[in-house]
């Protein structure tokens, strides 16, 4: 029972189509492409776990930035009469530490140093490691062999051991702990950067750029960097969690931040003696490290998943 195609029905269909076109305006016909990063962002926003993790990170960063002005009490002022108060105390909401200093204020201010010593090494290693990896991957040949075999030597050390060996030899301090952790992450990032770069150096657009007369430096800066920076960046974000744990670990051992500065790892160390008196307060700094570390891990996982766009 097919209806006969008449001039009227064609006209009607055509009319409907035309009406729709008018209704949606000319923009409907042309959907602008979001671009690669637009798609990644769009997918990331729809990932509730990654968004939750991102919110935690944002909150901690905000606290870290604002802490000097928003701590309820003076984080350095102690009182031997009011030491090791319990969580839920009327004055000290999250209790007080072994020198009677307000825990919540110290945890808030501590987020500054903990984030700083945890994130900085990855940022520096991202720049240096990408540089080494892209150079080795793009130039290839002997340059690649020499650079990558040197990198292999650092892979012969488990990362915790390398970090502790370097900062143990350099001596305690924030600067030295950042230097040691940077040395731990540069080889790892460089290896990823090298393999991604090697993967694209034979692509047509690189050849096209070469034929257009661009110098090696320009090609590395424009064509290569633009195409490899995404994967290297995602890999680097996955290192932040490890870096936070290791940086606080160095302070925990007494190799990083020095007292009386509040830092989560160091606080955990000085509160170790209190585990029999006030176990909950003693464990609090570790909860902070754990929360931030898990948030970075989940956010990085979400970012990686969002970037795996099938083409």
């Amino acid at each position: 029972m097919t209806a006969p195609v008449t001039a009227a029905s064609i006209a009607l269909d055509g009319g409907v189509l035309a009406a729709e076109d008018v209704a949606h305006g000319p923009e409907a016909a042309f959907v602008p492409s979001r671009g690669f990063w637009g798609h990644v962002g769009h997918r990331l926003v729809r990932d509730p776990v990654a968004m939750g993790a991102g919110a935690v990170i944002l909150l901690v960063v905000l606290i870290a930035l604002l802490s000097p002005w928003i701590t309820p009490m003076d984080p350095y002022k102690g009182s031997m009469l009011r030491r090791l108060r319990h969580v839920g105390d009327a004055t000290y909401w999250l209790g007080s530490d072994e020198l009677g200093r307000d825990m919540i204020s110290r945890l808030m201010l501590g987020s500054r140093l903990s984030l700083f010593i945890g994130v900085t090494p990855v940022l520096i290693a991202f720049v240096i490691g990408s540089g080494i990896g892209i150079l080795a991957g793009y130039v290839g040949g002997w340059t690649n062999t020499i650079l990558m075999r040197t990198i292999d030597v650092f892979f012969a050390f488990p990362s915790v051991l390398l970090a502790i060996a370097l900062s143990g030899a350099l001596g305690a301090g924030i600067f030295n702990s950042i230097v040691s952790l940077t040395c731990v992450f540069v080889p790892q990032i460089a290896r990823v950067a090298e393999s991604v770069t090697t993967g694209i150096r034979k692509r047509d657009y690189i050849d096209a750029a070469k034929l257009s007369g661009a110098s090696a430096l320009t090609i590395m800066r424009v064509q290569v960097l633009g195409n490899v920076v995404g994967p290297i960046f995602v890999y680097s974000t996955s290192l932040i969690s490890v870096s936070m744990i290791l940086a606080s670990g160095l302070s925990f051992l007494g190799l990083g931040v020095r007292p009386p500065e509040p830092e989560w790892g160091l606080m955990l160390n000085t509160l170790r003696t209190a585990i029999y008196v006030n176990p909950v307060v003693a464990a609090l700094p570790g909860v902070c490290i754990f929360l931030v570390s898990i948030a970075f891990n989940l956010f990085s996982d979400g970012l990686r998943a969002a970037m795996e766009i099938r083409q």
Binding site: D152, L161, A165, A169, L255, G286, S293, L298
Partner: protein, 317 residues
């Protein structure tokens, strides 16, 4: 196979050489003179010169390195500044204790990791799968030194079931395989096992899921093989990779034990390193790190060779 082993050995040699250079240079990274830590503040210049000559610090660096390497190759890692005993004997005693702890932790981590991984891989997107994913995120995100503290708080400070620190009831530095000593090992071993557990669970889950989606599994089932038979095939296919990861994790645990050993006062290499760092005992620091790193290089080599031997699909080029 022999050819591959030799090739792999040949490749490991320059890495081992590089490791020795890094360990040697560690001492020279230290601010000031390596001897400044042991010399009295009011040491005269002649005393300093005497010590420098005695330790060979007056010679150029490459010469110092060659002399040091020559001694190392003959099993002489120098004398500990703090105790006056040979570094090698201090390190080997500690390595044994660390190796026991790391091995037990690896076995615990591997057992539960594979168990969770298999269940999750077989039942994708089930509750068990989500639990396994949560476990692996937990394993890599938890600061293990803090986890150790929490376990001490629960099982020693609150419940009083297990001893919080040390390796044995007599306070001795040597672990023995009896019930009393075993109780001292439970908390540090469980703490350490969480990291490999998460990583192994994640890997095995991916492996099992991948194997189950392959054509040969469907063929086996079509042939009429029961699930137990199919399971055996899955295990055989997953084993080489899973075992390789277990080997590497043992190395990571051994090298990264310093934090957990410090929390539990376990008399291993981590504890030794900690002492070496804070007493500025540079020969001991250098020696322990060299031994641990060389162990890791060797373990990597063994894992590669074993994986190739177990898995005929890997190119032995």
């Amino acid at each position: 196979m022999l050819l591959y082993t030799l090739k792999r050995l040949l490749y490991a040699t320059p890495v081992a050489f590089g490791v020795s250079v890094v360990c040697f240079l560690l001492v020279h990274l230290a601010p000031g003179d390596p001897l400044s830590a042991i010399l009295p503040v009011d040491a005269t210049q002649s005393m300093i010169d005497e010590m420098r000559a005695a330790y060979g610090f007056d010679k150029p660096l490459p010469v110092q390195y060659l002399i040091w390497l020559w001694h190392v190759l003959h099993g002489d890692l120098g004398i500990s500044i703090a105790t006056g005993r040979p570094v090698l004997s201090e390190v080997s005693r500690a390595v044994v204790n660390s190796l026991i702890l790391a091995s037990v932790a690896t076995v615990i981590g591997f057992t539960f990791g594979t168990l969770f991984g298999f269940v999750a891989g077989y039942h994708r997107n089930s509750l068990a799968d989500r639990a396994a994913s949560a476990l692996s995120v937990f394993g890599v995100s938890v600061p293990h030194y803090w986890l150790g503290m929490v376990l001490v708080i629960i099982f020693s400070a609150t419940l009083g079931w297990l001893p919080p620190t040390g390796a044995g009831p007599d306070g001795s530095g040597n672990w023995r395989p009896d019930f009393d000593h075993l109780r001292y090992m439970i908390l540090p071993a469980v703490t350490m096992s969480v990291i490999p557990m998460g990583i192994i669970a994640r890997t095995v889950r991916a492996l099992v899921a991948d194997i189950l989606s392959q054509d040969f599994v469907e063929a086996l089932r079509a042939k009429g093989m029961d699930e137990r038979g199919v399971f055996k095939h899955v295990v055989r296919n997953a084993a080489p990779t899973a075992l390789a990861i277990m080997g590497l994790q043992l190395g990571y645990l051994l090298g990264g034990s310093i934090l957990v050993e410090t929390v539990f006062a376990w008399p291993g290499t981590g504890f030794l390193l900690n002492a070496a760092i804070f007493q500025r005992d540079l020969p001991l620091l250098q020696g322990s790190i060299l031994v641990l790193a060389m162990f890791f290089v060797l373990l990597n080599l063994l894992v590669d060779v074993m994986q190739t031997a177990l898995d005929p699909r890997i190119e032995r080029a």
